[in-house]
């Protein structure tokens, strides 16, 4: 369930996102992750995979079945993929605050250049 908010900052965010090329194009309504979310997703992925590897190895060794180990790990890979790869909302708890369009007009745009993703903004 996505929260539909009427805050103007969300509308501005949507406008800038549509213009920006550096963020990936999501077909679904999922918003991209924020910085903290990206870090969380990466750490979560590594920890989950390691945990499933250990659990798989121990399960396989104890049951004497190599197949068990592979199956447990494969299940773990699928689960980790579902949890860390899509842009779930809980990865976007600290959304980036983009400038309001009105504010952006006060600061004139530079000459068109291909690297507009590297534009610095005054508010963080």
């Amino acid at each position: 369930m996505f929260q539909i908010s009427s805050l103007p900052s969300i509308r501005a965010l949507a406008m800038v996102l549509r213009k920006s090329r550096s963020l990936s194009i999501q077909r679904s309504k999922l918003k991209p992750m924020d910085w903290k979310g990206q870090k969380l997703a990466e750490e979560l992925m590594q920890i989950l995979l390691l945990v499933f590897a250990v659990v798989g190895f121990v399960t396989g060794y104890v049951t004497g079945s190599f197949q068990m180990m592979v199956l447990v790990f494969a299940g773990g890979v699928v689960l980790t993929t579902l949890v860390t790869v899509p842009n779930w909302p809980f990865f976007n708890r600290n959304p980036l605050k983009w400038l309001d369009p009105i504010e952006a007009e006060k600061h004139p745009k530079p000459q068109p250049q291909p690297l507009n993703s590297k534009k610095k903004f005054s508010k963080k």
Binding site: S24, E42, L49, T63, F66, V77, T80, V85
Partner: protein, 167 residues
């Protein structure tokens, strides 16, 4: 920048690396297995013993092979390849090994076996040295793992002798 594709790629690479590590660890765990196999072979009968037209001796025999190789199996074992070789020396050759019979043991349950067979492969010498020859019968096995290092070992049974005259 993070994106769907980037995360999927990172996950896949990490998962494959971890899988490789797990396989390596499984192989290492095989080293902790201390097997205690046993075997016994009887030469029941020398079927015939001739000199071939090309000058090489050949002998055919019937064997009774019994062995217990259950302790060789671990969770990482795919199969055990077992073969019985006759080993002897001659003036010309320091060592001769002739495989007389081989078999594949697919699982632990099949590893305790008893078999009555004539030699699967022809016992032919390089020359005519077999009359009265003393030889060893060595049971060799090759543990083939599901991943990783293969182990091979053997049990040497000595004291067998071929007849003095052709039959």
């Amino acid at each position: 920048m993070h994106s769907f594709g980037y995360r999927a790629n990172a996950l896949l690479t990490f998962a494959v690396t971890i899988l490789a590590l797990m396989c390596a660890m499984a192989s290492v765990s095989d080293n902790f297995n201390s097997p205690s196999p046993t075997s016994k072979v009887q030469v029941l009968n020398i079927n015939w013993f001739q000199k071939q037209p090309n000058g090489n001796d050949e002998v055919s025999m019937t064997l009774n092979i019994s062995a217990d190789l259950q302790s060789l199996f671990t969770w990482n074992t795919k199969q055990v390849f077992v073969f019985l070789a006759a080993e002897y020396e001659t003036p010309k050759n320091a060592l001769n090994q002739i495989s007389l019979w081989d078999g594949i043991i697919p699982s632990k349950e099949h590893a305790k076996f008893w078999i009555h067979t004539s030699n699967k492969y022809r016992f032919i010498d390089q020359g005519s040295n077999l009359r009265g020859k003393e030889f060893n019968l060595t049971l060799h096995w090759h543990v083939m793992p599901k991943t990783g290092k293969m182990f091979a070992d053997k049990i040497v049974m000595s004291g067998y002798r071929l007849p003095q005259e052709y039959r």
